[in-house]
């Protein structure tokens, strides 16, 4: 009855309505589900806004603002250079220790902050998740992407250091984006797993700081991977960040060229990433009930 009323009342609006309405089926999903990449693409603008929000908010009401993105890695580099470079005398593949260290710290810090952010992202966005529908994958992806802004700022310092230490990059520098991509994939791989687990197991929030701390020492940030002999060196590549850090050093400073180690790292991070995507999608159905 009311439907016919509505039609009579508004013929123009009805005709302006798309004739081919999108159709959504709501039903319980079972088992492993598709990644819903098309749906993700449809929501790309929201991804942009979530990243934009994170970036905008990050340094609001701080006196130093975005300078923090430089201060953190820079001061860390100075401390490491004093302790490991000077005092302990850790080798640095024949490169001045500060720049050797900074070239590793740069991707490492990106990994560490982006990982912590994305692991907690589902919980910090709980309010959104309980009240609005959107592909939940956007949440950890946005946190991962937002970290790239800090990375870019800190990168400028590296360029300055390269000028100071008169390091001329080789053609390998062209592959740098590839290693950055590997870093992003690694963050997402681990971040997807942790963020999905964090929804149900709040233990993750306490695990992540530890994990990041230990992980740094399992990654050649303060020391070169050349300290290890074969076959350990290749096995070392099971840590995806090994490939990223060594790749960065090679691309920027021309240290050890890529080896089986880096390939292994790349494989591990891709496996983590793909499995993380599917695990996340599988858990997604109950996020709103648990978060």
């Amino acid at each position: 009855m009311s439907a016919t009323n509505a039609q009579q009342a508004s013929p123009p609006a009805t005709s302006s309505m798309p004739t081919d309405l999108s159709r959504v089926v709501i039903a319980p999903s079972r088992g492993w589900v598709s990644l819903g990449l098309k749906n993700l693409w449809d929501y790309r603008e929201l991804l942009y806004f979530l990243v934009w929000r994170d970036v905008k908010v990050r340094y609001k009401q701080t006196a130093l603002g975005a300078a923090w993105a430089i201060i953190q890695p820079f001061v860390t580099m100075i401390v490491f250079s004093l302790f490991f470079g000077r005092l302990v005398g850790v080798p640095s593949d024949g490169i001045p220790y500060p720049i050797f260290n900074y070239a590793g710290l740069l991707p490492w810090q990106y990994f560490a902050t982006a990982l912590s952010q994305s692991a907690n992202s589902m919980v910090t966005s709980a309010n959104l998740i309980r009240k609005v529908y959107f592909p939940r994958l956007l949440v950890p992806i946005a946190s991962t992407a937002a970290g790239l802004v800090d990375f870019s700022i800190a990168f400028i310092v590296l360029l300055g250091m390269m000028v100071y230490y008169q390091v001329v990059p080789t053609l390998a520098v062209l592959l740098l984006p590839l290693f950055l991509l590997l870093a992003i994939v690694s963050v997402l791989g681990v971040g997807l797993w942790l963020s999905a687990l964090n929804v149900q197991y709040r233990d993750i929030r306490h695990i992540v700081p530890f994990l990041v701390q230990f992980w740094m020492f399992a990654t050649p940030v303060v020391y070169p991977s050349s300290l290890l002999g074969e076959p350990w060196r290749t096995l070392y590549g099971l840590n995806p960040m090994v490939g990223v850090v060594e790749g960065f050093r090679w691309a920027l400073l021309g240290t050890n060229p890529p080896s089986a180690m880096i390939i292994l790292s790349a494989c591990v991070s891709v496996i983590l990433f793909v499995s993380g995507l599917f695990y996340f999608r599988r858990m997604e159905r109950s996020f709103a009930d648990f978060v």
Binding site: A6, M17, V25, Y48, K56, N127, V132, S286
Partner: protein
């Protein structure tokens, strides 16, 4: 093209108590613990979401204490252009239904098909970030609600005008008053142009003038041929807006039809929480051996039955009851709870005329006057109870007997004074302040 906008068939949603959305998160230790105790049984539960893991349970009301079926078996079809109200008491499954239809949570069983772009508005200002300015939040919130950036930009001026906050659009929203915040948030939502709009009780906030404006805007939305699904406790708003109403009760559709009919049967059945409840039929009235409740009413100072009370004005709550047997000491009392379920106060009959005096059979009306400038703003639910003393025997207890809204205007003479921001607290009294001053010695 079929004219159906939403078609729901046998929707059911189960929550696990204690693991539902409320509090208790499973910790790894719990899970590992169950792994150890029943390894084979639970092995797969680590990778399986819990709502999925127990689908074999049957939805038989709330028989199994571990599970709650927030929705039991809900089916309906809604055509394009219909404005449908959804009513039911607290816990009837209204919000769960909206969550399922907005794809926030998956149904445990059943199926729904939705034809058209959906925007759901389960909360005002979802995703608003306090540090961002009004302008920035309009874009962020718009994107969260599913608008395209160009669409938001195109409607931006209209949104700001609707919200009436032109001057503060570049101020971070954390400095906004709650009124401004709500207005801006609703303005964004009101300018959504989905084919289907799902709205949950968001009009219960803001001043009444703006509420009316929003209602009108929503009605316009309906006239433009859009479908609106609207949950509300306000029968007034439902009657005004919706031609059709669906009544939910414990997760089932109890009634579905023209609003006036559904609402009157709902109120007649003593189900709705409004400002007045009358039990005409003594057999269904809450009753004990000695006393029987007949009616509960909320009245303003001038005696009108009303759902909306100005925060500055007193409110009278009265219960009409029948004493069936002579000789008992009766103690009627009220408990008032707010929307969060927090008990604001309990008040016992202290009328000296009846205190410690046995009552004769007959009809009584006991009323209590709650002064103005005492309750905080928002919805309040009144529980009406009576017990007999010596020995203590409960006679009747009606949990959400009546309800009313306290409204705090921004006129400057309420406890708010000149502060238009957020004010928490279960009560909102005006106290006397005194500030002493001593000039600094030079």
């Amino acid at each position: 093209m079929s004219n159906i906008a939403i078609s729901a068939a046998h929707l059911a949603k189960m929550y696990r108590i204690g693991q539902g959305r409320k509090t208790n998160y499973a910790t790894l230790r719990d899970r590992l613990g169950t792994l150890l105790t029943s390894p084979l049984q639970k092995m797969s539960s680590l990778t399986r979401s819990s709502s999925n893991g127990s689908q074999r349970e049957q939805p038989k009301g709330n028989v199994n204490v571990d599970y709650i079926w927030a929705l039991n078996d809900v089916s309906f079809d809604i055509n394009h252009g219909e404005i449908v109200g959804i009513i039911g008491r607290n816990g009837a499954g209204k919000s769960t239904l909206l969550k399922v239809l907005s794809r926030i949570t998956e149904p445990t069983r059943g199926r729904a098909e939705i034809y058209g772009r959906v925007a759901s508005l389960l909360e005002v200002g979802t995703g608003f970030h306090p540090e961002l300015t009004g302008r920035e939040n309009v874009f962020l919130n718009g994107a969260i609600l599913g608008m395209r950036k160009t669409e938001i930009a195109g409607k931006f001026d209209e949104i700001v005008e609707f919200a009436e906050i032109e001057k503060f659009i570049d101020t971070p929203v954390k400095f906004y008053s709650s009124g401004m915040y709500v207005r801006l948030a609703f303005a964004v939502a009101a300018h959504l142009e989905p084919e289907i709009l799902i709205v949950d009780e968001v009009l219960a906030v803001g001043d009444s003038r703006f509420q009316k404006k929003c209602l009108n805007k929503m009605q316009d939305v309906g006239r433009e041929g859009r479908t609106v699904l609207f949950v509300s406790h306000s029968m007034q708003a439902i009657t005004r807006m919706c031609e059709r109403t669906i009544l939910l009760d414990s997760g089932n559709v109890l009634d579905d039809g023209p609003s006036h009919r559904v609402i009157s049967s709902y109120l007649g059945a003593g189900q709705g929480t409004t400002a007045e409840r009358v039990w005409d039929d003594p057999t269904t009235a809450p009753s004990g051996e000695v006393a029987r409740l007949r009616a509960v009413r909320v009245r303003s100072e001038d005696g009108h039955i009303t759902e909306a009370i100005d925060i500055r004005k007193a409110v009278h709550i009265e219960m009409e009851y029948e004493v069936l047997k002579p000789g008992s000491l009766l103690l009627p009392h009220y408990s008032v709870r707010n929307e969060e379920g927090i008990k604001v106060f309990m008040s016992l009959d202290n009328d000296p005329q009846w205190r410690r005096r046995p009552r004769s059979p007959g009809y009584y009306i006991s009323s209590v006057r709650i002064p103005g400038n005492f309750l905080s703003e928002g919805a309040l639910f009144v529980e009406a109870t009576a017990i007999t003393m010596e020995p203590v025997v409960p006679q009747f207890l009606e949990r959400e007997a009546v309800a009313f809204q306290v409204i705090d205007s921004l006129d400057g003479d309420t406890a708010r004074g000149d502060w238009a921001g957020n004010m928490d607290g279960v009560v909102r009294p005006i106290f006397n302040w005194e500030t002493k001053f001593q000039p600094r010695d030079h």
